[in-house]
């Protein structure tokens, strides 16, 4: 043994040394790959904050967060974010009005009522619904849902937030339902059995035992759904209109933050101009909005988390 280790040319030891180095090198490479996610986040912050800082050197922050007109591309430019915010918030609200009731009902049904076979079929079908490209949903909102609504409400404009929001709601139902269902499935069966033993029906068990126990997970499903709706782009760009309008009336047309970014990007604005920087300021607003939402969600989940 001693002889083997002290011989520098021993092939066994050399290969072991090489192996050790390879192991180290591989681990380092894998770490670098994992660090790419941090680099992505830093890149996002660098681009958004960097360009926004240049933007806010020329436009006062106060005008940006209190202004009620958004006309950066006009001769008399105004940089108030509220018209874009109102469009974003209104379409999101309409989407949640559809996605939360439907998503929750589907989750409760498939977690608490459906037999295992039905659940096995249902999950992939809902996944397909989630896999539909958003531009296809946009087509659906503009060319199918809006004409249908116009038959009932003849005064509805061709671009409106109600159909864009409703279709967006449809698009995020699978997200809400699958996360809520996972949360309910994680509730231990002993809780359900205790409830049944007291003579409760399935519905009573679902609503009064399982739902409250899973509330933290369900809450985060709602939050994720909301941030998806805030950031959704193509449906609102196609169907909700491109005119920034300060309105919370879903039957009107209005541009969202995302629709504005798309509209400007298609116009091919020169790099470094103030107009070019507006899309980064708008993007930063969107990121801050989802960030605040995620923090609220985090606090809520912490507050309501049940320990089994």
């Amino acid at each position: 043994m001693a002889l083997r280790d002290s011989t520098p040319l021993n092939p066994w030891r050399r290969s072991r040394d090489r192996q050790r180095w390879t192991e180290r090198a591989i681990e380092l490479l894998l770490l670098l790959a994992a660090l790419s996610s941090i680099a992505t986040l830093l890149g996002i912050l660098y681009v958004l904050v960097g360009e926004s800082l240049q933007f806010f050197q020329q436009v006062s922050l106060w005008e940006f967060i209190t202004g009620t007109r958004w006309t950066p591309l006009f001769g008399d430019p105004k940089y108030g974010i509220w018209p874009l915010l109102s469009g974003t918030l209104t379409t999101t609200f309409v989407a949640l009005l559809i996605a939360i009731p439907f998503g929750t009902a589907i989750a409760i049904y498939s977690s608490e009522f459906a037999p295992a076979t039905v659940r096995e079929i249902l999950k992939p079908l809902l996944e397909l619904l989630a896999g539909v490209p958003s531009v296809v949903y946009g087509y659906f909102a503009l060319l199918v849902v809006t004409p249908l609504l116009q038959q009932v409400l003849p005064w509805l404009p061709g671009f409106n937030m109600i159909s864009a929001g409703a279709v967006m709601g449809l698009a995020i139902i699978p997200l809400v339902s699958s996360i809520s269902e996972d949360a309910m499935q994680a509730v231990p069966n002993t809780l359900r059995e205790g409830s049944y033993a007291m003579g409760a029906t399935k519905l009573q068990t679902a609503l009064k035992v399982v739902f409250p126990s899973a509330i933290s997970g369900i809450m985060s499903a709602y939050i994720l759904g909301t941030s998806r709706a805030l950031g959704e782009t193509m449906i609102v760009t196609i169907a909700a209109g491109l005119q920034p309008t300060l309105t919370f009336n879903p039957f009107e047309q209005a541009a969202t933050i995302t629709a504005y970014i798309v509209q400007v990007s298609m116009g091919d604005l020169p790099h470094g101009t103030l107009q070019y920087q507006t899309i980064f300021a708008a993007g930063l607003t969107l990121v801050l909005l989802t960030l605040v939402l995620n923090i609220i969600g985090h606090l809520l989940t912490k507050r309501y988390r049940e320990r089994y």
Partner: protein, 313 residues
């Protein structure tokens, strides 16, 4: 004797209440089913409506072999589907190795410390960042800092960043489902950590990783907004140079620097035109796009189903 006493307990009032509860129970069950049916029926209606509106264009072969045109009846999706194919290839080549490597690091190597925790939180957060923000990132970094231009390369890298969290998360889930005894058996015969992963853990988990990757790529194929942000063109009447050449060195990388368009952007362009004949084209392009994503998703779901059936530890 006992039975008689028990039924005495159920007063008419209680009986009525029980009946009501059962009715409510049934009512809710029906409501859940209806909610599901509404969602799925809408999906079906959408697909059928789109396929039927687009049929006049889909039924002609020229739709797949013609470039975009100002005349709707002559416009086709050649540049778009070739572009989609090229962009998705770049995305897969970039996202899969990095994503799988990151997943392996987080699951097999990372010690419980602040760095691994930071990366973990970060991956979760990135999954929630709106895709258009990735477009802004790519515009600032890939287009203007790295000078990749508004090219296939930029688009592929952008979508790779977008689906990286999906690949990482599914890789981790897949690795986690491999029982510890597999690793221990390999260590017991003297394998190093990487040998254990490369020869034993990865082969077992490749199916799960593949499923996640396909789902990620199907999302990338339908992604529109971030590619508009980096400046994808909507009107292209040429193809990028072919990667395969007739004369040595037989391979060309010129296509990476080529301007591009992709299926969803072509569709968006047609949807947003007021001329109803272009909307027929939009429906046709949408049907092709839907078919692509449905096939990919369906394949992934089938794969997962087969895997779950096949492996019994």
């Amino acid at each position: 004797m006992l039975a008689a006493k028990f039924s005495d307990l159920i007063t008419p009032q209680l009986g009525h209440q029980l009946h009501q509860r059962k009715l409510l129970n049934l009512g809710f069950m029906v409501m859940g089913l209806v909610a599901i049916m509404v969602a799925l029926f809408t999906l079906a209606a959408l697909i059928i409506h789109m396929a039927m509106s687009g049929w006049p264009r889909l039924s002609t072969w020229e739709f797949f072999t013609a470039f975009a045109s100002r005349r709707p009846e002559r416009a086709g999706i050649l540049a778009a589907w070739v572009g989609s194919l090229l962009v998705i290839s770049v995305t897969a080549i970039v996202a899969v190795p990095i994503g799988v490597a990151a997943g392996i690091y987080l699951e097999e190597y990372a010690r419980k410390n602040w760095l691994s925790e930071l990366i973990e939180i970060n991956v979760t957060n990135l999954a929630g960042v709106p895709s258009i923000i990735y477009g802004l990132l790519a515009l600032g970094v890939f287009v203007y800092e790295f000078k990749f231009g508004r090219s296939v390369l930029t688009a592929g890298c952008t979508l790779a960043l977008l689906i990286l969290p999906i690949v990482i998360v599914t890789t981790r889930e897949s690795l986690r489902s491999i029982p510890q005894m597999i690793r221990e058996a390999a260590y017991a015969v003297g394998a190093t950590q990487w040998q254990v992963i490369w020869h034993h853990v990865l082969p077992y988990s490749i199916g799960g990783i593949l499923t996640g990757t396909i789902i990620g790529l199907s999302r990338a194929i339908g992604e529109t907004s971030s590619l508009i942000t980096i400046g994808a063109l909507t009107f292209i009447a040429f193809l990028p140079e072919s990667p395969f050449q007739g004369k040595p060195p037989f391979v060309s990388w010129e296509w990476l620097n080529s301007p591009f368009t992709v299926m969803p952007i072509q569709m968006f362009n047609w949807v947003s035109r007021p001329n109803p004949e272009f909307q027929v084209n939009a429906a046709a392009a949408g049907t092709v796009l839907m078919t692509m994503t449905l096939l990919m998703n369906g394949f992934a779901i089938y794969l997962r189903y087969r895997l779950r059936q096949g492996i019994k530890w």
